[in-house]
Amino acid sequence: MRSALANPLSYGDVVVLPVPLAEPVGELDVRGLVVEVRRSGTWVPAVRDVSFRVGRGERVALIGESGSGKSLTAMAIARLLPDGARIADGAVHLDGVDLTRADEATLRAIRGRRIGYIFQNPMASMDPLVRVGIQAEEALLAHGLGDATARRERVVQLLERVGIRDAATRARDFPHQFSGGMRQRAMIAAALAASPSLLIADEPTTALDVTVQARVLDLVRELSTESGLSVLMITHDLAVASQLADRLVVMYAGRVLETVDVKIAVGRPHHPYTQALLQLVPDMRSPAALPEPIPGAAVPPWQAGDGCPFASRCRFAVPECRETPYTMRDVGAGHGSACIRELAARVPEAVR
């Protein structure tokens, strides 16, 4: 037993809760994850052999376009896959516990408590008939944390923390009385209520106005820096990822193509797909240079074959790219890439 005072995840003067915690440091280790989806009656792979780590207090962005498998990966980690999707192989260890093999009771003990989850659409994930404050308390109640007064105080303080003014009063509002940005911030408060050690945020700011987006990103960054909260953020937006993440896991057609420090990703990425994503970020300084679209269309994971899934659209592809079975290799310290070609062989064109 540890007291909440010793809990590295307590937020400043937030109400102390009698919280028993085994070492919840929020270390996530995803190994060889395979997620299958049902299509016309057969199971086909949508996430293929995905491996990455999120260290304690680290902020990792899972980045990719629609159909890359990034959201399925996130849902599989929290065992929140919808009907028609299943984990077919691999392991997901959170602080040493393999979630893929955990029973429902263990998962209940972990969800909300160890893992906070923020969904993209705050309206769809809130109950319109329940007051915002009560919904934000849910994780505390479910895990038997604190009495009614302590729970309420904790939630009000968190709502204040996420920038809801007059939080004690606003906690009594129903979701429709909140603006979209406020709802998303209330969802963040709810996800953080029980001091999870890992926050999974699936496109947390996509539906928000830029001004609110900037505030939400600041907030998540602050919380993670202050309290050692680990963050796995799912996004299609490289600019947003660069604002928040330390490291990127770049996904395409169900595969990880590059795992890379964000500073290297925006400067000298290894995989041509990461380079292509980088070239799609519009340059605010000059309107003349239109972002360069990637030729062709994305291949569904189940049609991508065993070689590099990006080969069909890659301007550096050689026949070996399709023939060599997919594998990640080290191309630098903590830098993995699935591209079999040497960066030097492509660099004269690759550099922007």
Binding site: H236, Q243, E292
Partner: protein, 249 residues
């Protein structure tokens, strides 16, 4: 004046008996061949303005003219809207060709014999292969669906497209393709656009002028160059400061 002229337009909604001003005396012009971006946060009235121009919401005051003539509330209009969700605006039972032909027939734009050729022409214009003509929209990718929505909008031969978050739901790569498509339509057809989007980086690439709406009022209208380099209104500066940029440090 030629082109689209929105003059002192107000729109009011009644909610729980109280009247809410969604647009407050907004004046704006879009010339043919010009792309004007309308920016502002949710609830600022961007979509309401586009809908008012398209005749989808009633105005409480002001006039909306195209080439000096009021835009008809029914029938063929000189403006056409494209929405964020292409599937929501396409009939799932109709093939791509049928969805486009529908517009040609409603407005009697082509004799029956000419429908097929015109449909093919419109598909080519938006960069779709002829094979998609016989396909239902749900079997197309998001980008292709949005191209169909644009082809359908172009079928009525509008002079101004009203693009209401039309690129917002698309992946970056598809968005880059659509950006090029809009520029190309402008140069090939001389068509203008009122572009509504919350992505200011996209606005930077696309717009000739930028109009900033805040709580139903226009607070700034400037050339894109001025808006991005020396925004005048504090709210414009706040919007620009919040744009997530690629952190290269």
């Amino acid at each position: 004046m030629s082109g689209l002229v929105v003059d002192a337009v107000s729109v009011e909604y009644v909610r729980r008996g109280a009247s809410i001003t969604a647009l407050d005396e907004v004046s704006l012009t879009v010339a043919e061949g010009e792309i004007v971006a309308l920016v502002g946060e949710s609830g600022s009235g961007k979509s309401t303005l586009a809908r008012a121009v398209a005749g989808l919401v009633e105005t409480a005051a002001g006039t909306i003219l195209f080439d000096g003539v009021a835009i008809p509330t029914r029938g063929r209009k000189p403006v056409a809207m494209v929405f964020q969700d292409p599937l929501g605006s396409l009939d799932p039972r109709l093939t791509v060709a049928a969805a486009i032909t529908e517009i040609l027939r409603v407005h009697r734009l082509r004799p029956r014999a000419g429908e097929r050729a015109r449909t093919a022409e419109l598909l080519e214009l938006v960069g779709l292969p002829p094979e998609v003509a016989g396909v239902r929209p749900r079997y197309l990718s998001g980008g292709q669906q949005q191209r169909v929505a644009i082809a359908r909008a172009l079928a009525s031969e509008p002079r101004i497209l009203l693009l209401d978050e039309a690129l917002s739901a698309l992946d970056a790569s598809v968005r880059a393709q659509m950006l090029r498509l809009i520029m190309e339509l402008r140069s090939r057809l001389g068509i203008g656009a009122l572009f509504i989007g919350h992505d200011l980086a996209l606005v930077r690439q696309l717009a000739d002028r930028v109009a900033v709406l805040q709580l139903g009022r226009l607070v700034e209208v400037s050339s894109a160059e001025e808006f991005f380099l020396s925004p005048q209104h504090p709210y414009s500066r706040e919007l620009l400061a919040a744009v997530p940029v690629l952190r290269r440090t």
